[in-house]
């Protein structure tokens, strides 16, 4: 038996000295619990406050309990998954990134993202081993991963990916290329791979832009935590090779401005002020970043398609939503334009496009 903290390797603390002090300073600036959650900083806050003898609010303790339950489940599920299938298996995000945190339990994750050379064969092998598909495969045709899988009794899903989650305007590297850059997983699970740190930092950055362009401090912290000084040059080179240079430069400059006393970037001084202020986005800011994001991260060639995609997504109902419900929701968004996004979400429900 072992406590969860003992189940990580020795890669913690690779970020530059003082980096986590800057993270803690940002956490302390958060304007509310909603803001901490919006930026995925709530577990860092609980860890920081407990270590400094400050009271941890009951709501954060609930978040900690849930985070701990999921973190405890991860190693066992990953071992089961590794044992159940042949071929290369790569862990992305989640517990792999958590290993870079001083306290891995302070990095929340809600699922386990795996990449394999043959996703369908991997999915079949996991189902044969006892994992259960949570949704119908028909609902996941053309998506970046197959239907989520669960082990009965464990509330942590595994997602077998066809590729990394990216904004539609970025070209995806092939699985073969990602696998060629793989290293042993920092979780220490035998036979499990992870992207090389530079590649992982790029993938984390792109994932952030796909969900909430430059919208969460937690995404930027993940990116920066993955990079040592030595990994910056390989990351830039890889970004160039993949055609991701603009997205990468915007991400890294923003992370440096917030976490390494770098010069404030134009996004941080204009549409991204919520980052430095560590507050939740307002409804209108959420819509602004969807448009401003591609303007600052897509190449000129990608931009028309990127903006077209944003308009189409904003103007369309959510999956399964009627047009009437969509119009009602749009009216509420106008009424709530300057309200916090979390308050708006509580009233209209969760946007399945925005995790």
């Amino acid at each position: 038996m072992e406590s969860v903290d003992a189940d990580v390797s020795t890669v913690r603390g690779v970020a530059a000295a003082g980096f986590w002090d800057e993270v803690n300073a940002l956490v302390d600036r958060a304007t509310s619990l909603d803001a901490l959650r919006a930026h995925r900083l709530q577990l860092l806050a609980a860890s920081l406050w407990r270590s400094t003898g400050r009271p941890v609010p009951i709501e954060l303790r609930d978040d900690e309990r849930r985070g701990a339950m999921l973190a405890m489940a991860a190693p066992g599920l990953l071992r089961r998954a590794r044992a159940a299938c042949d071929g290369r298996l790569m862990l992305m995000k989640g517990p792999e990134v958590a290993c870079r945190y001083p306290d891995p339990a302070a990095r929340y994750f809600g699922d386990l993202d795996l990449l394999s050379d043959d996703p369908r064969a991997t999915q079949r092998a996991l189902v044969a081993a006892g994992f259960v598909e949570l949704e119908s495969p028909e609902d996941w045709v053309g998506k970046h991963h197959l239907p989520p899988l669960a082990w009965p009794g464990i509330p942590l899903a595994i997602e077998v990916h066809r590729g990394p989650k990216l904004p539609g305007w970025l070209a995806a590297p092939t699985t073969e290329e990602l696998m060629a850059l793989a290293v042993p997983s920092a979780t220490g699970i035998d036979g499990l791979l992870a992207p090389a740190p530079a590649a992982h930092a790029l993938m984390l950055a792109a994932h952030g832009w796909a969900h909430r362009p430059l919208g969460r401090l937690g995404d930027l912290i993940d990116v920066a935590a993955m990079l040592t000084e030595d990994e910056r040059a390989p990351a830039a080179e890889l970004a160039h090779r993949w055609g991701w240079s603009r997205m990468w430069t915007t991400t890294l400059k923003s992370a440096d401005a917030l976490l390494r006393h770098g010069r404030a970037t134009l996004p941080l001084r204009t549409w991204g002020r919520y980052l430095n202020q560590v507050r939740d986005l307002s409804v209108i800011e959420f819509h602004v970043i969807q448009i401003a994001g591609p303007l600052f991260a897509a190449s000129l060639r990608e931009l028309p398609g990127a903006l077209g995609g944003v308009v189409a997504q904003t103007a369309s109902p959510w999956p399964g939503e009627t047009w009437g419900a969509k119009l009602t929701r749009s009216r509420k968004a106008v009424v709530h334009a300057f309200s916090d996004q979390a308050d708006h979400d509580r009233q209209v429900g969760h946007n399945p496009w925005r995790r």
């Binding site: 038996m1 903290d5 339950m69």
Partner: protein
Amino acid sequence: MTFRLRSDELEWKQIDDEIVALDTRRAEYLSIEGSGVSLWHALQAGATRSELAASLIARYGIDETRAGADVDVFLDDLAQKGLLAE
């Protein structure tokens, strides 16, 4: 007789005064609070019934009869859940 927590497929973390544990063999979560937390820690290293009872007496100032009864209930519960080493 020394009682000890099972050494495999059991993970746990302490959050303030609560232990959250996962028995990955049965896919079952447990939450342990109060005097169970100190008993849990003692059982990690291994302890006899009388040592466990003595720890409760020292920590909570309760009498020997009540401490013994509390230990018995806790050990029975762990045994039923299959969490004690064979």
